[in-house]
Amino acid sequence: MASSELIPALDPMPVPGPLWLFHVLWVVTFFIHILLVNAVLGGSVIAAWAGTAKPGRRSVVELLLTLNTWAIPLSITFGIAPLLFVQVVLGRFFYTAALLVPGWWLGLLGLLMVGYYLNYLAKWRLAKGGAVGHWLVLQAICFLLVALIQVVVNLLHMQPERWASAAESVVAALRDPTLLPRFLHFLLAALAMVGGVVAWVAVRRVSGAPAGGRAELDAMARFGVKFALYATLLQLIDGFWLLFALPEEVLKAFMRSGPVAMIPLTLGILAGVVLLVVLAQVHDPLAQGTKVRRALELVVGATAVMVITRHQVREIYLAPARAAEELVTTAPWGLIALFLVIFVAGVAATVYAMVRAATDRPAAGEQAA
């Protein structure tokens, strides 16, 4: 049986909204999700590095464990939305891909849970002065495996022509020339972003730090900048590796897609090059706070345009398999409006609560909660 014949039939239910809206929501929510994922993945790897490679990086480890206390639950929660929208638009491809590696796909949840609990465990042990290096390494391994499983399932859902062989053996599911560069692409982006965050936090803390604390903050900032610099350098190489590892027909179709595809790609590459230049210019991060902030903005900007490119490449991968697809859509605008109103209100309430939590402090003599 030809692989294309293995694509399940379209769901008979109509798509409950215009397709463009689902694509927009999917890309936007995935962007937020991937920023948080970067924080978790990059944070856990850098924390493991800082916690084992060299003594004296306690402040980096503390920062990243605190960051992950927030980033882990938020990345899971923000992952729900793109998971919803991929099922609406590409459900039959997505379910099939997950079913080709079901044990891994489900195992991802166990890894997430272990990684999450390890974060609290390491935080507590660190507060009590205990050694946490091995817990941090274990946590980083958990999240690296989660990322690998996600990449495998993502690659499978875009390539129905690989399904028949992937169904025969797990090794075949891994045999994709883009697997390694794609995985590294995510990992290096995560390292660059979190390196930037570490440096930026050190810059922010320096104004209120005691005189003796400046040296520690300087070391922290330099550590972050160095990580971001090396990760970005490797990213530029890996980015081209990934681009040219794409199947020939996908690469050609992508290159012929015109400005819609070329603008985000070019912006992404440019952002990477400029980021490299900016990071290379940072010799004294605490004194060059603006450059550190600029570097962080460039990482986030590059991630945003790369999310668009990733989405476009997926469309090209799947174009032959979806050529005959005739999706029926409905437009329940009242329901969509209700979602948007609740979304805006929910985000406003969340932001308000966070700002209150971050800024509200009892006055002198007043009791805290």
Binding site: M13, G17, T69, Q87, R92, L109, I342, A353, A357, D360
Partner: protein
């Protein structure tokens, strides 16, 4: 049916059950616990009561470690699991309720951020801000229940949705409100049951008694609301479903037994929490643990009853548990099931046995394993080939009862929890041949000798 099939010895239904029950016992605490902690801290601030504040503090750590870690991941886990076991049904649910889930997701964001912020700001912010965080959490958590209850209850009683396929008809189904009342009661008693352990950690005996009694009040109120909600839920069910677990069909005795079990569990739980209410000072953790087990027993029993009453469907009167649509029975009988089951059809090697294996995987494998849960080999242990063919014939005939727009009374069916057999006569014959190969050799020989 049209997707790759995951051969899981444990059984897909059991896996869903494990993940779902692990999630609901935590998620209902996440809802009730939020409300309970909000009330505790409000009272603590108003009365300047340090013991109440300590209970709220301990409870907030339970909330974060149990609910935002375990609850959030098992919640996503349900999606992952049903996507693997019932992809067709998951796709249908997503298409029907994507906006409902999207709204629920907004409440999740508020829930998670306020939960983490609440725990992180003890001793840092003013009480007013701290209370704002926990009340926002309680609101968001309850709203997530308000949304998801519509989707859960729809699967059992889709009501007018069957005619209109409209979102609101699906949400506002006949058992939505009674089920919501029931689950709200469960949230209350789960909060009390979990937090009772935190109350027992209070060192001061007098204060401990007060806290235990307060948690007992939560549980008594929860039990009473739950009981009222349950009775209302039973009344709101269509007569055909209610009759199933009121013992109308001797073939479904397990459902009636589950109903008795859960009501007795609720009664036992009420007795235990009344004991805590009357004599809070003598309360010790073993009694609290037994009360929690009784609470779990009721809740688990209710979920089992709800799921069991839905069989043979995954979405009542619309889609069977193997992914076959009620409206597709005639088409599958005409065109053959394998024409619509691409992955299962790969097992068809051209032989009658191979085709039968493919039909088995398309129609039966979502519930039956070969040797694990609901093992088909064990079920066939006392049958012979002729019996198997007769059963398949009856199951095929059963399909006729669903055609022409009618839905049969399950109590009148020979195999009330099984979807009908759909497919061509040749596919039925092939399935019979394949199933005959699974009958243990000694049984086949004895039967043949006779």
């Amino acid at each position: 049916m049209d997707y790759p099939i995951w051969d899981l010895a444990l059984g897909g239904g059991v896996l869903i059950g494990i993940v779902a029950i692990a999630h609901v016992v935590v998620s209902h605490f996440a809802v009730g616990g939020g409300l309970a902690i909000a009330l505790l801290e409000t009272l603590a601030v108003r009365r300047g009561d340090g013991a109440l504040r300590q209970l709220a503090y301990r409870g907030s750590w339970m909330l974060i470690l149990v609910s935002t870690v375990f609850g959030a991941i098992t919640g996503v886990g349900i999606w992952f699991t049903i996507g693997l076991i019932h992809p067709t049904a998951t796709s249908s649910l997503i298409r029907t309720f994507v906006w409902g889930w999207a709204i629920e997701w907004v409440f999740f964001i508020l829930e998670v951020t306020t939960a983490v912020a609440y725990v992180a700001t003890w001793n840092k912010v003013r009480p007013r801000t701290h209370l704002l965080l926990i009340w926002l959490y309680a609101f968001a958590a309850f709203m997530s229940l308000v949304v998801i209850q519509g989707i859960i209850s729809y699967m059992l009683t889709p009501g007018k949705w069957l005619e209109t396929q409209a979102f609101w008809d699906g949400i506002w189904n006949p058992t939505y409100v009674p089920g919501l009342v029931l689950r709200t009661g469960i949230c209350f008693f789960m909060a009390g049951a979990y937090l009772a352990f935190a109350a027992l950690r209070e060192q001061d005996a007098g204060a401990r008694g007060r806290l235990v009694r307060l948690m007992a009040v939560f549980q008594v109120v929860g039990v009473l609301v739950t009981y009222g909600g349950y009775r209302w839920w039973e009344v709101a069910l269509p007569e055909s479903i209610r009759a199933l677990f009121l013992g109308a069909s001797p073939k479904l005795a397990a459902l009636a037994a589950t109903r008795s079990f859960l009501l007795w569990a609720l009664a036992a739980y009420l007795v235990l929490v009344l004991f805590a209410l009357i004599a809070p000072r003598v309360q010790r953790w073993p009694v609290t643990a037994v009360a929690l087990i009784a609470a779990f027993a009721f809740f688990g029993g209710y979920e089992r009853l709800r799921e069991g009453a839905r069989k043979p469907y995954i979405i009542s009167d619309y889609m069977f548990s193997n992914g076959v649509l009620v409206s597709d029975i005639e088409r599958h009988n005409r065109e053959g099931i394998l024409a619509h089951a691409r992955w299962a059809a790969r097992d068809d090697d051209g032989s009658l046995e191979g085709k039968g294996r493919a039909v088995f995987r398309a129609q039966c494998a979502s519930c039956h394993t070969l040797d694990g849960y609901l093992s088909i080999r064990k079920l066939l242990a006392t049958a012979d080939a002729d019996t198997v063919n007769v059963i398949l014939e009856i199951m095929h005939e059963q399909g006729n009862a669903y055609t022409g727009g009618s839905v049969p009374e399950r109590t009148a069916l020979d195999y009330p929890v099984m979807p009908p057999f759909v497919g061509t006569a040749e596919e039925r014959r092939a399935l019979g041949v394949y199933l005959a190969t699974l009958i243990p050799a000694h049984v086949a020989e004895v039967r043949h000798g006779k």
